[in-house]
């Protein structure tokens, strides 16, 4: 049975629908991300779970009980805010202890749990510092410890890493995942960063204009995006002009001179083929021909920008020491049939 259930959750501000009939079931201990561009309703959803925003419609059930009838200060959820919202007049330890004080935990146990949690986030030595005297990363850890120390039923993270620099963000991602695994806390993360969502979550909810476009495991959503929006939001995708026709009684899809078998149900006519940049290989003969226009070095890999008759293509090549074609050189591209998805029609020109 699911631990946290959002059922047809809707929030409307006047005519604007921020969240539109969102349904989601989260298992106990699961890490689920709400991912989407700003204004997609992900933060509103989080705030409805937290109790700061009242839903227009729908239900939220936590551990079999109705959550919406519980006041926000009785919900027992741990929340890490984007701004951290630490109490500036309290030291790190006092910040963390606050939630336990509210629960009337006896002093001795309180101190033990505060120390435990601070060392869990690696801040034991800074317990007596005020937030203002701490770096962004340290403040972030205090905020996390403050939310975790009350042993929340669900941990809600609202863009917790967006104020950190790239390197620190990556470190915190790994740490956050480890802590979450160790404690087994059911966690909902709100983020606009697709790589963060994919790195951390068991499942991702990709949201757009208040609706869930796809709810899936990260690798699943990446490999088989349910919509064009998802395909473009999760990683880069090349879109190539193709056509579907019938030869010898079988449907085929062709890009330039290259032909793949197509599903029988498809109508003949123009189509769009989508392939991920890392799934395209350079080949000596056959394949789609193109001209290498630009190559950009990224350390661990190269980005190649290729111009083909079917449209511009970006390719990722691992920096494995093999020689690369030079800019301006004619090259040939190939990919396996299972690495592409075919959509009938002209698609977008993106």
């Amino acid at each position: 049975m699911s631990f946290l259930i959002l059922d047809q959750l809707t929030k409307a501000y006047g005519d604007v629908i921020a969240v539109d009939r969102l349904s989601l079931e989260v298992a106990k201990g699961e890490f689920v991300s709400l991912l989407g561009p700003s204004g997609c309703g992900k933060t509103t959803t989080l705030q409805m779970i937290a109790g700061f925003v009242e839903p227009t419609n729908g239900r939220i059930t936590l551990d079999g009980g109705d959550l919406l009838s519980v006041r926000p200060n009785k919900r027992g959820l741990g929340i890490v805010f984007q701004s951290y919202a630490l109490f500036p007049h309290m030291t790190a330890a006092e910040n963390v202890a606050f939630g336990l004080e509210m629960q009337h935990v006896p002093r001795a146990e309180r101190e033990r749990r505060v120390n435990e949690t601070l060392s869990l986030v690696g801040l034991s030595s800074l317990a007596d510092r005020f937030p203002r005297k701490m770096s962004g990363g340290q403040q972030q850890r205090v905020a996390l410890a403050r939310a975790l120390v009350i042993r929340p039923r669900v941990l809600l993270l609202d863009e917790p890493l967006s104020n950190l620099d790239a390197k620190l963000r990556e470190e915190m991602q790994i740490e956050l995942r480890q802590i979450q695994r160790t404690l087994g806390t059911t966690t909902i993360l709100v983020t606009h960063d697709q790589s963060e969502a994919m790195a951390l979550s068991d499942r991702i909810v990709i949201m757009n204009r208040g609706r869930a476009e796809q709810i899936a495991r990260p690798d699943e959503a990446y490999a088989r995006p349910a919509s064009e929006f998802v395909a473009n939001f999760l990683g880069k995708t090349n879109q190539l002009a193709a056509s579907i026709r019938e030869t010898d009684g079988r449907k085929v899809v062709s890009v330039g001179a290259v032909v793949w078998p197509a599903a029988d149900g498809m109508h003949c006519g123009p189509a769009t083929v989508a392939v991920r940049p890392e799934r395209i290989a350079l080949t000596a003969n056959g394949g789609v021909s193109g001209i290498l226009r630009n190559r950009v070095f990224h350390g661990s890999h190269w980005l190649l920008q290729v111009e083909t008759d079917a449209g511009a293509v970006t390719i990722i090549r691992q920096n494995d020491g093999e020689a690369l074609p030079r800019e301006g050189e004619a090259i040939r591209l190939s990919w396996r049939a299972e690495d592409m998805s075919v959509t009938p029609g002209n698609g977008s020109d993106a």
Binding site: A50, N73, I79, F81, S83, F87, F98, I150
Partner: protein, 294 residues
């Protein structure tokens, strides 16, 4: 602009800050510092009814003030009034600022105008307005009698109560602005953070909001206290000639008794006392909050 170019430019024109603040310093110097110094010097002269101001330097005036219970009572009244006005301003102004801060426009702008209203009205008409309200046949007394709360009119005019009410009315806006400024620096999510940790609204107010606006309350208190202790027009009109405060006393010594040196000494003592109290408070605030707030 990068830090490097900024530094280089600063080095080249180190005079610029002084030149730019020159005009203001000049005005401040001629209109404030010189008269103050002159007053300080004047307070050391002595005065006699027949010979006028004597060009001598001694501390006789100060000794007079410190040894005469008459002056002591007036200073005590001055600071008692200032203290009560400050406390009332906190009690009224801090909640007012909190409510204002939670309001949405257009309500907020409207009510802000109402709160700042007393500052827009000339001190004379405002104070005379209070005099009309306070009189034994004034609106306040008539209303209280009509409501059956009192039998006979209360004495507001020529009383400390009257002065306190009128001063609080005009000084509360300073407290509101000061507290509001510190409320606006609060993280908008901070109340939600406390809420999610299980705090009730009373606890949030006491444990989270109050400690954070305390610096604003203290700086507002400093402003209100200084203005209340040195107020002249309100005590002069509401308090009349009988109920003197330090400012009206100094005025009387200058313009009625013509004992300028004594008036100057009274004024200097008032200035020093207010400065000492303000600097003391400020030191306290800074030491207490140095590592908490910027």
């Amino acid at each position: 602009m990068s830090a490097a170019t900024f530094d280089r430019r600063n080095e080249r024109v180190t005079l610029a800050p002084y030149l730019l603040s020159g005009p203001a310093l000049l005005v401040l110097g001629t209109l404030l510092v010189i008269p103050l110094v002159a007053t300080a010097v004047l307070s050391l002269h002595s005065f006699s009814l027949y010979k006028g101001i004597q060009n001598v330097y001694n501390f006789d005036n100060y000794v007079d003030i410190f040894t005469d219970p008459y002056f002591y009572a007036i200073y005590a009244r001055t600071f008692r009034i200032a203290l009560i006005v400050t406390l009332l301003s906190i009690l009224l102004g801090a909640p007012e600022a909190y409510i204002l801060n939670r309001m949405r426009d257009p309500w907020r702008s409207g009510f802000l105008l109402v709160v700042l209203g007393p500052l827009f009205i000339s001190i004379i008409s405002r104070t005379l307005g209070w005099a009309l309200l306070f009189g034994s046949t004034g609106l306040v007394n008539q209303g209280l009698v009509a409501l059956g709360l009192i039998d006979r009119p209360l004495q507001f005019m020529y009383s400390e109560t009257g002065i306190v009410i009128a001063l609080t009315h005009v000084l509360v806006p300073f407290m509101v602005i000061s507290v509001w400024a510190s409320l606006q620096r609060l993280d908008p999510q901070i109340e939600n953070a406390a809420l999610s940790l299980g705090a009730r609204s009373g606890t949030i107010l006491r444990r989270i909001l109050l400690p954070q606006v305390l610096p604003g309350v203290l700086s507002g208190s400093i402003i209100v206290f200084a203005l209340a202790a040195s107020a002249f027009a309100t005590p002069a009109i509401i308090g009349g000639r009988r109920l003197q405060v330090a400012a009206t006393l100094a005025y009387d010594e200058f313009l009625n008794t013509l004992n300028w040196p004594l008036g100057a000494a009274i004024a200097m003592l008032l200035l020093v006392a207010i400065l000492a109290i303000i600097l003391g408070c400020n030191r306290l605030v800074e030491r207490r909050y140095a590592q908490v707030f910027e």
